[in-house]
C-alpha cells in the first residue's frame, strides 16, 4: 500500500497535490484497491464549483459504484479526459496518470492528513 510523502489526504480517501494556486485530486492506492477494477469514471463539468465534501463524481467498478468528494472548495479547472477510454488508469497509476480533477483552491486545510496521518488512519480503519 503506497502513500507518497509529498501529498495530502482526505479521510474519504482522496489525495491532494498542490500545484501553484490549484490542486490535483485523485484517489489513494488503498481506495482503488478496495474498489477493484474501475470500469467507468464520471467526472464533473469544467467550471462547476464545489464545497468541501460535495460529490465531485463517481467511480464505477465491477462490483460497486462509489462517489469521490471534493477535499477542498473550488472550481473545476480541468478533468482527466483520458479516463473516458482508460478508466483502469485509476488502478494502474492512482497517483500519476490516474488523477481525476484539477480544482482551484488551496490544500491549506487542517482537516487534511499528511502521509503519516493517513497511514495511521488506514490502520485504525482496518483495526
Amino acid at each position: 500500500m503506497t502513500i507518497p510523502d509529498d501529498l495530502k489526504y482526505a479521510r474519504s480517501h482522496e489525495w491532494i497535490k498542490t500545484e501553484g494556486n490549484s490542486v490535483v485530486v485523485g484517489i489513494s492506492h488503498y481506495a482503488q484497491d478496495q474498489l477493484g477494477e474501475v470500469v467507468y469514471v464520471e467526472l464533473p463539468e469544467v467550471g462547476a464549483a464545489f464545497d468541501v465534501g460535495d460529490e465531485l463524481g463517481t467511480l464505477e467498478s465491477v462490483k460497486a459504484v462509489s462517489e469521490f468528494l471534493a477535499p477542498v472548495a473550488g472550481e473545476v479547472l480541468e478533468v482527466n479526459t483520458r479516463l473516458e477510454d482508460e478508466p483502469n488508469l485509476v488502478n494502474d497509476d492512482p497517483y500519476g496518470d490516474g488523477w481525476l480533477v484539477k480544482l482551484s483552491g488551496s490544500a491549506e486545510d487542517e482537516e487534511l492528513l499528511d502521509a503519516a496521518g493517513y497511514g495511521e488512519f488506514l490502520e485504525q480503519e482496518s483495526a
Binding site: Y40, E42, E60, S61, V62, K63, A64, V65, E67
Partner: protein, 452 residues
Amino acid sequence: MHPWVGAGLEDRLHILSELGLKSIDELFASIPEAVCIDGLDLPPARDEDWIRRALGDMASANVSMDSIPCFLGAGVYRHVRPSIVDAVLSRAEFFTSYTPYQPEISQGTLQVIFEFQTLISRLTGLDVANASLYDGATALVEAVLFSHRVLHGKRDLAVVAETVHPMYRRVLDTYTEAAGIEVVVVPPGTNGRLDPNIVREAAGDQACCVAVQSPNFLGIVEDLPQLAAAAHDSGALAVEVVTEAVSLGLLTGGGSFGFDVVCGEAQSFGVAPGFGGPHLGFFACAPKHLRQMPGRLAGETVDEDGTRAFCLTLSTREQHIRRAKATSNICTNQGLMALAATVWLEAMGGSGLRELATSCFARTEELKRRITAVGDSWRIAYPQSPTFNEFLLIGPASGTELVEQLASDGVLAGVPTTDWGGAWPDGLLVAVTECNSARDLDAFVAALENLS
C-alpha cells in the same frame, strides 16, 4: 415438522408457547380492530370437487374476450399466443426462480434477458435496452426521471402529450409530485395528432423531456421526426411511449428518428391480457446515457475457458447496492413476462411479426371502410389521420351507453372514452387484431346497423 405439510394444532401451540403467547389472535393483536372482519358469511366447508363446480358455474356467467367478438384495446391487446410460450414459461427452471444474488449461476435466465434486450433494441432503434420494467406506466415514469437525471436535475418541466395513455399519466403524477417535476400536458390538435410547434412552445427552455405516445391513445400515428426535432430544439430529451408493441412490427421505432428513449408496454408480445396484469415494461436508450438508465443489463462475455457466457452488468447502480443513491427504485426486472415476450418474438421471427402487424393494420382499415358505409349515425372521429390497429368511433349515443347497447347485441365493441377526460370526443376506442376474424367484423358492422 415436515417441510411440506402445514403446522397442525400441536405445532401451533408449541410455536405460541415459545413466543410466550396464548392464542393466534394475540399474535395478530397489532392489527387495528377497525380493519378486522368479524367472521365471513360462508357456507360450511365443502370438498374440492364441489367447490370447483360451484365456482365454475359462477365463472361461466362471465363473457370472456374469446367467447364473443371482442374489440377491446386501449392499452391491453389480444394477440395470438402460440403454445410454445406457455410450454417454455412453465418449465420449473424458469417459473420458480428468482434472479439470485450471484446471478451468473443462472446462465439460462441471463441468456433470456440478453436476448430480450437484443430484440427490444432492434425494435426500438436504440442501441441499449434494459432487462425490462414492471409495465408501460412505470416505464414512462422511469423515462421522465431518467431525462431529469441526464440533464442534471436542472430542468423541472416534463412535457407530456395528453394522448399518452391517461392511466400512465396518472401513475406519472404520483412520482413527479414527490420528485418536484412539473408535468405540462399538451392536447392534440383537431386531427388527433400533436402539433410540433405547440410542443416546442410548451417545452420552452425548462423541459427535461417531451413524452409522446405513438400510436397515441386515440390510435393515431404521430409525426415522430418532427416531434423529436421539437424536443431537441428546446434542449429536452425526446421520449416515445408505445402501448401497442405489435405496432413496432410495421412502424419504425422512435430511436431511428432521433428519440433518446423508447419505452412502453410489451404485453402484446405473448402476455395474456389477464385482467390487466402482470404485464411487461421495456426501456431503451442511447449508449451515451447508459449510466442513467434504470434497472439492470445482461451482457455477453466469455468465461475463463473462453466459452460464451452471460453476466449481469450495471446492477451496481441499483438500489440493493447504491441504496438512496440508486438511479431508480427498480431493483429487479419482470423476468417471467420478459421470457414470454422473448419466446413469442423468437417464435414469430422478424417476418412473422411484420405479417402479424400488417394483418392487424389491414383488418382495421377494412373495418373503418365498412363503418363509413353504415350510415350517418356512425363516424370515425379522425378520418384523415393514420392509425395502426385502433381508432375512435363516434355513434348515436355516449360511449358508455354504446358499449352496453352493443354488448347486448353480442359484441364487445370497444372502450368508452367518456370517463378518461381529455380533448377528444365521447365515443368508443375500437381495437382490431389478427384475433378478429371476418365473422367478428361482420358481427360488429351488423350490430352498428341495428343501432343506426
